[in-house]
Symmetry: D2
Subunit: 381 residues, 4 copies
């Protein structure tokens, strides 16, 4: 039965996600220019080899507008149990990300990263442990299973989603993990981003990537955001303060939202270097206009898929490190890809009506292009 | 039905707790000396006015040995919704404490602190939100309820408890919160500490306090620990390396455990000063012999019940601050009370048999007294 | 003799600084638009009541192009010995700022903040102690003087300045401190910024401010930067990537520089809130295009002049706090003022030839205006 | 001339240091027991291969009682320019250690660590740069020399030393660096520790080491302290509260002092692992009774001499890492060696009279042994 639910959910996700990923325009398709190098094949976090993403999107009736997104740094096969080096940075800690104390201490990301709504962090967290215990049962002598301190983060979708009613359930965690794949990543109103709001427009999931020049090592860096932050007047696209002109449907008042940013790379970075990378995500966010408002939970995580043996516990472990002196191309990459992932989320999201008949409008593509054109910032798609 | 379960659980807790609190000897009763001043009336975290503690102890059949402990900084009445200034310190982050990003950012502890087992953090976390939403429903315009980023921490009781079977449920959270009181605090095999192991002896909950001299402000400082850490040969009591001699039943191998330390005070400290206080808990822990092993989740939290208006959001808030120059007495207090709370946990805990018929032995009082006597360290109880 | 040197140096500074402050155009005078509110009377850090700034500019012969800038949070009168609440944030720690350990621990900025070149941090630091000991001699019982852990920060001016020859001397510290005043602040090639380079153009000192709306408390926030960071192709002005077009004189290679950002406010913020403010300076920096390159020492400090009694050591101290919920206007202010201060530094700096006959070109005002005009981003000055 | 001064100073140091290192009893020689394994050949930080220590001791007339101590992680030969992985931890930041921002950012310790008095940090810092620039001149194209962000830390010797008169000069830095060697390390009233006070007794420099069992990797870990901290009643030796009984000459009042702790190891630890090691030094300090008083600058630094290529800037760098799971033996080692180094400082220091005819008494060996004997804690030397 559980397996059936999982299958159905995964299927639903795939069906929902496919069209968005394949046919809908992304920010570059609209001619929006971005800085700092060129993207990978999918312009997605999945351009980093091995990284898999799974969405479960829950849109039911009038008031369920939520979901969850799973990122598996080393995919969903047996490599899933291998830790990665990782690090976190809190630009503004008005949010939850479980597992951060151990990431900070150990330098390791052990297991998947799950993004969901604020009130579902707990159920998702415990379900990750249960999933791991089923799949890789702890030894009879009472050892821990893998994934004992899961990484689950949230943003608040209570504007469009009936968040105090618990809709995200353990079987959705199974579906997201078992359904995770490489390749194109659905954006906008999907997964954990389903009900999110960004600069007063409909927000959600966005992703982008950069491939470094061969002289800089040829590494790939990908970013995935769950964008639920910002106030309308702050919005910048390609440096143009479009939020000051696109005033339609702008909600009043203070920022209630948050943004989660996950950065993946195959560059061989150590934990303290990944913390540097995570910190730079703030600079990409700033290029879209955010000031990291008091109510915003701006929590960033970076991991490296290089160094497959970092989780070993015997002997000593051979590693490779990129020198600090060679990190600037990655710094530019994370800034550029973060900015682009946020705009991708805005471009992909669709107008949504949900809880209490509230409607949040999508960023109007035509009006946006017109404004960029007027500012000499519209490129050839 | 829910209320009934809650009532029953609270009752069970009270019954279980009472004898321990009233009749059983505590460390001082055995003549063990402690440094740095004198304790308050209960020698417990509840000596800090307003602080309430509630335990739910789950001991069922052969393999359920777990529970949870709730600490309400401002009690369980309507003041429960008033934030306190607070701070956290991770001596070794191999553990989970949810809510820490917001504590670090805001300087606030908003709501109760719950201690439970590793695999129950999620269910407890979501249940705290649900409890708050029931008791203080969010406004119809979609605002957050209070307690939206709950603080839930854990240590691992998988040695004695069948931890992969979920025994802690939402109704236990309600029972712990609704059953919290001031006054004496049950120690040892109760609440979140039910199945814990400390220096290879049976561990669990312990508490202690210090009242500062009037010249130092007369403030009260209390500590509560969930002690599940350390290896036998490391154990010091009153500076005597008793762990090297008390070798009975010492489990082999590396440290699997952790210690949670919660520090409360009515001294008017700001968040950065409370972080200083939390950091000193490490020095008290060190006096019992711990080296904060790699496997130990040593997460500490400190809060101040002074300054009742810190959570206001309009205008400006009048505060009082104790100068840094006057903090030394509190530093001594937290070191002394932490050391004593840990020894209290060891003294109160009883030999327990649980999961897979494993038995963990209690610290033998007589042998301990004999050793201290031999080292000229036994005082008059 | 010492007094004479001090006087002469202060005089030289005043003379050098005056024309720049009064007559030369600043960024707004060129029609460059900036976000997030309106500046104060001087559009300078000195708009925060009490804050004083003193520059000593050392331009001698072919190869001396350096200096130092002193910021006195409470001016240079007797209030100078009163600490402020303060905090630091390291966006990229490739630089020196002395005194940060105590700021982090105590939450206090005790004394002036001095900005100079990399190799002069030591002499300036010890000279601050000597200055304080002369002016406020320690008591005969051996107590510390005030200012025992001075705050001295640096950026590298070795491109234009013969930095391995020690040109900054103790008497310059005296001159900077004794010459500090409120009112307009000289920008560009002055003080610690004399020999600095920014985005491959001549950089240096810049400043700006914001005055919050009365509904947001009416507080003032000011920023002063010593700008020595960035690579040409990264430069954004008003969101326009002008660095990609203004290629004249762009030095090749990686970033060698750094930026120091000092944020002052009269809003009553606690230390942890000031850390939040300092962190947001990164977002303002990002709006000028920086990615905080590996070689860049990007160290930020924020202080509040409110709460004059924070340094008292007896009894308890009454304070006022702005709630976290009311900080968003300050967050916008620090982002806006930081962006503007950096552009002010670029606009004020003049082409300079120095060490080894190297020349660094000023940002060409006309070309810049032309580019902004073309992108619909030039306002009426 | 400079060379001559250097030679003389080094000679003076050597002469002063030799007898102490060779003939005087250390803590173990008195029969004081210490936990956690066995020391290396010298029971000193220099047991870590390559580490060199140089003292310059300045004792002149009635009021000069100061000096400096240099620790060169890779000795004073050409390897001195190779960085190490390193990390810092501030238990209580009431002190100065320059260079910490870059250590935190880069994970590197680049160059020597110098310990001196509070008011001489600046002169020592600039002198390190000057030394490096003389020995390894920067390239003509204006590059930085090595050691551009020196690491210089301090404790306050103003009780015995006329600290406002500048006695430490650049030539002493040269002497300390050029005179650094491996082998035995002088303790007590030498180098930076010359005028220091510890628990109200004469303090100063102390050192100790641990060699891990072959099964734990056989690594060596060494600690060097400049001990100037604590109040008399707090002092514990071997767990015995001797400070409560040894009241002779105890100065009244609050803690004015500080302790610097430097940890060296040849275990292949990454920067985040070294931060873990540095943090554990606090636990060793706690075992001597300190509560890290408000006035104490308790700054700790750890470095690893493994991985000689960490400072390279081309390509990628091959590294070796000790797994987190194998760090417990190092954690025990750093706790044990820190405790022992502090007691070694107390045992080695001699009664000193200095500034304003103040006298600080040495820890009386006989009385100490008598107290330990009485508590069954005196072993066979």
């Amino acid at each position: 039965m559980r397996a059936l639910v999982a299958l159905a959910a995964a299927l639903a996700t795939t069906l929902a996600a496919r069209p968005a990923a394949v046919a809908d325009p992304r920010a570059r398709d609209l001619g929006i220019p971005f800085a700092f190098g060129r993207p990978g094949a999918w312009n997605a976090i999945t351009d980093v080899p091995g990284v898999a993403v799974g969405h479960v999107t829950l849109v039911q009736g009038d008031s369920v507008r939520t979901g969850l997104t799973a990122i598996l740094p080393r995919g969903r096969g047996e490599d899933a149990t291998r830790p990665c080096f990782g690090a976190v940075f809190a630009l503004n800690g008005n949010g939850e990300m479980t597992g951060t104390e151990w990431i900070r201490e150990s330098g390791l990301v052990e297991g998947p990263i799950l993004l969901t709504n604020t009130n579902s962090v707990g159920v998702v967290r415990d379900a990750v442990i249960a999933y791991a215990a089923r799949r890789w049962p702890p030894k009879p002598d009472g050892d821990w299973t893998v994934w004992s301190l899961p990484i689950v983060a949230e943003t608040w979708d209570g504007t469009l989603n009936d968040i105090y009613d618990p809709h995200v359930r353990p079987e959705h965690v199974t579906a997201a993990l078992d359904g995770a794949t490489g390749g194109p990543v659905a954006e906008g109103n999907v997964g954990g981003g389903t009900g999110m709001v960004c600069y007063g427009f409909k927000g959600g999931i966005g992703t982008a990537s950069r491939v470094l020049a061969a002289t800089a090592g040829g590494y790939t860096l990908g970013v995935l955001v769950q964008a639920n932050h910002g106030r309308r007047h702050q919005l910048l696209v390609a440096g143009v303060p479009v939020g000051e002109e696109l005033r339609e449907g702008a909600p009043p008042g203070e920022e209630m939202g948050s943004i989660l940013i996950v950065v993946a790379t195959d560059a061989p970075l150590l934990p303290h270097q990944l913390e540097r990378l995570a910190r730079r995500a703030a600079l990409g966010l700033a290029r879209t206009g955010s000031v990291a408002g008091n109510g915003s939970g701006d929590l960033f995580l970076a991991f490296s898929t290089a160094n497959p043996r970092v989780g070993e516990s015997e002997g000593t472990v051979p590693l490779t490190m990129l020198p600090n002196d060679r990190m600037d191309a990655l710094f530019e990459g994370v800034v550029g890809a973060t900015e682009e992932a946020i705009v991708n989320a805005l471009v992909a999201a669709r107008t949504m009506t949900g809880f209490r008949r509230r409607t949040v409008t999508a960023l109007p593509h035509d009006r946006l292009r017109e404004l960029l054109q007027r500012h000499g910032r519209l490129g050839t798609p």
